[in-house]
Symmetry: C2
Subunit: 148 residues, 2 copies
DNA sequence: TAAAATCACTTTACTACTCAACTGATACGA
DNA sequence: TCGTATCAGTTGAGTAGTAAAGTGATTTTA
């Protein structure tokens, strides 16, 4: 281990480059359905948890309220979601158009995403990776930034 | 394993949420040095590989040429880097100001980043994770998006 | 019951990226 | 020597995010 790196920092770098590349390729892949990676990500969450409000959705996507507000405005304009102002909150649902697109896009994207892993890791290795990454991800939601 | 998920897609989701959260927390952490995560990432690469040109740098950061062009324009304006027009290419170097900032920021950020891993995984587990992620990352640089 | 707090969401100004069209300099073939 | 190709970098238009201030309707409290 050199002065300039720790095992953790090397893992971090690989993770960032990998997720970045995958994000770009997923964007490219999803073009055939007229969706971006971020839009697809939102639609999957809405599809799974609808009806839900904006704050709940922001939490699930690890994005701020402001970010969700804009994103949903675009998706609404494009006819993918509906927002209904209820008692204090806006309730989000997929439109039938989005349901139709997702019925095609979801299994295709699932297969594409899965191929990244199936082409390099055995099932045993994937299980190990899932366990380690799950611990990391759960820890990161509790962790806070140290004081200055 | 349900109809809606594969092991690979579950790993992917955890990875995206984890890198996203870490990115946000790193932004927060680096504020004390007046840097963003993206700027820090660029400065580390320049520090390590200088002198280098913009295309080389774009490759290392898995970012497009256009993205690097804008980013470097900002960093130059803020006095962190210098660009010298050579035979066809622009050669990038850190300024003494950036060297001074990085001498402080680099070890601090290294320790912060490392803590994410040291607080949840044993050294043995980190070694395993590094090996698996390395294979994934290398594979992702060769892989291409399937035809429509 | 009028002022203050709360709550979900929006907006403003910004960073950071994408793709694709463009610039400007050098090289090269007819 | 005059197009033409190439090549590094820039730019325009757009998406996607951030932090922080603002809105507007309720609800609490003094």
């Amino acid at each position: 281990m050199s002065d300039n790196h720790t095992l953790g920092s090397l893992i971090w770098l690989r993770l960032v480059r990998f997720t970045n590349r995958s994000h770009q390729m997923t964007n490219d892949f999803l073009k055939r359905f007229g969706l971006t990676t971020a839009q697809f990500d939102v639609l999957v969450q809405v599809r799974t948890f609808q009806p839900l409000n904006q704050l709940e959705l922001a939490g699930k996507l690890t994005v701020t309220e402001g970010g969700i507000s804009r994103m949903l405005a675009r998706l609404e304009k494009d006819g993918y979601i509906e927002r209904k102002q209820g008692w204090k909150t806006k309730t989000i649902r997929l439109t039938t158009r989005a349901e139709a697109v997702m019925a095609q896009a979801f299994p295709a994207q699932l297969a594409f995403q899965t191929s990244f892993f199936d082409e390099t890791l055995t099932e045993e290795e994937q299980r190990t990776l899932y366990e380690l990454v799950t611990r990391l991800q759960k820890h990161s939601t509790n962790k806070s930034v140290p004081q200055e």
